[in-house]
Amino acid sequence: MATVLEAVGRRTISELDYVGSLNIQLWATLRAMGSALPLVGNRYRWQAAVRQMLQIGVDALPMVALMAICTGFILAMQGASELRRFGAIHYVIDLVAVGFMRELGPLLTAIAVSGRSGSSFAAEIGTMKVTEELDSLRVMALEPVEFLLAPKYLAALISVPCLSIISNVCGILAGGLFMFFSTRLDLLLYFRYVLDSIVLRDVITGLIKSVAFATIIAHVGCLEGFRVSGGPDSVGRSTTSAVVKSTFLVIVADAVFTAIFYFTVKS
């Protein structure tokens, strides 16, 4: 019994330590973010942030769009198969529009970015640690948080919400195509119904979620890289861990945000 308690206690302390490290890293990055901003910051950091935006955002665009289109079709087809029985197939429009705006757009984007960029952050920083490049930065009086993390975080904060919006558009478009082929509903009319079914609040909650997801992905990926110790094998482990932990935390955060927004609407 004592051993079980000991194991649980040790694991709890380890997880709290992880969360604490994430918080410390987040505040350190927020303090260093000014250097990555355009005009007022260091132009090399801004250039690095733009390069990261291309990698996180532009390179992920085809994948995110395809995932959203497929999910849009799936959601519309599954919804239609049930709603048709009640003569309520037109509710598929609300289902797809609201579902994507509030939930699926940001979540699908976060999962795609976590797999692509979260792992890439962990691998890049982990390799730099193994090859003494992080030490090299420190002895050159350059802070790794400012030099590496701030541009990545800024890029994620801009790219992930943009990708979420594109994901929403693609998912809703897929729903429209389904409605066109199954009920001959005109696409322009479909988009009018979509605009009627969503409110500004849906857009804002989706964007708030995507900013939170970007924070989780960037910080978990980078922290896993900074925590690499030993040889190249630990870089592989940290990469896997970055994807697993960030995906898990994204889903937990999504549940928390959804609950907050749900109960706020009720009241």
Partner: protein, 267 residues
């Protein structure tokens, strides 16, 4: 006053004592070689001099500033006066050799880009890589990478140059070329040079003084001639390349002796 003063330095990892009360003075303009076998604490001492780790107790004063207790701003100013070439070279693989050398100039000075380019070319020319600036680290040989790391370390014209195992893994000719380069740099720039190595020919060629480490303590500190003439058994073991634990050697010899006898008998 010495440029570096180490006093009663104690470093422990998980309760294991790595450096045990070290004290050492390094004077302006001298080349100090830290000599010792694997696991003697050379690299740990170097990391303390670079403030990459905190000691358990003791102090390291660089230019009169105790880097174990100073503020971040003081540490940054100290670090700007130290150039470091790591054992693995630790060049940034994503940058060209030119950009690697230019990094600290761009970050810490307000020099015009054309001046930065000129300084970079000069530093690369000093180490014999004037024509290789456009290449990336992965396109260079081991010796060239080490030279590039030295060029990067020289970028801000530091008062102290630290070289970690500069000739490790290099063939004798390239290693000798690097020794010549270190002597040249000392003569031209009058800088204090700290070299960590276990290569005896290299140590005796470049050193003004040698500090010999064994199990986290200095066994001997002196000029080349004093170390060469030392009768300290630890120093003699190292210089005369005598294995410390003869029992293992004897056991292996006895085993192979028996094996050879059996082979002869069977023939």
């Amino acid at each position: 006053m010495p440029i570096i003063m180490i006093r009663d330095l104690v470093v422990e990892y998980d309760g294991r004592r790595i450096l045990d009360g070290l004290s050492l003075d390094i004077e302006h303009g001298e080349t100090m070689v830290l000599l010792g076998g694997s696991g003697s604490g050379k690299s740990t001492l170097l990391r303390q001099i670079l403030a990459l780790e905190r000691p358990k107790s003791g102090s390291v004063l660089v230019k009169g500033i105790d880097i174990t207790r100073c503020t971040n701003a003081e540490l940054k100013s100290v670090r700007r006066s130290i150039g470091v070439a790591f054992q693995s070279a630790a060049l940034f693989n994503s940058l060209s050799i030119e950009d690697n050398v230019a990094l600290t100039l761009r970050e810490h000075t307000r020099l015009a880009p054309s001046i930065v380019d000129l300084v970079v070319w000069m530093k690369l020319a000093v180490v014999g890589l004037g024509d290789f600036g456009k290449l990336h680290p992965q396109e260079l040989s081991g010796g060239m990478k080490k030279r590039a790391a030295v060029a990067r370390a020289l970028a801000l014209e530091p008062e102290i140059l630290v070289l970690d195992e500069p000739s490790a893994g290099l063939d004798p000719i390239v290693a000798a070329e690097l020794d010549e380069l270190i002597l040249l740099l000392k003569e031209v720039f009058q800088m204090t040079v700290i070299v960590v190595t276990h290569e005896l020919p290299s140590a005796f060629r470049i050193a003004d003084r040698i500090a010999m480490l064994y199990n986290g303590r200095f066994t001997s500190i002196g000029t080349r001639d004093e170390i060469r003439a030392s009768q300290n058994p630890r120093v003699r073991h190292f210089l005369d390349r005598i294995p410390e634990d003869m029992t293992k050697t004897s056991a292996v010899a006895a085993y192979f002796g028996k094996y050879l006898q059996t082979q002869e008998a069977s023939e």
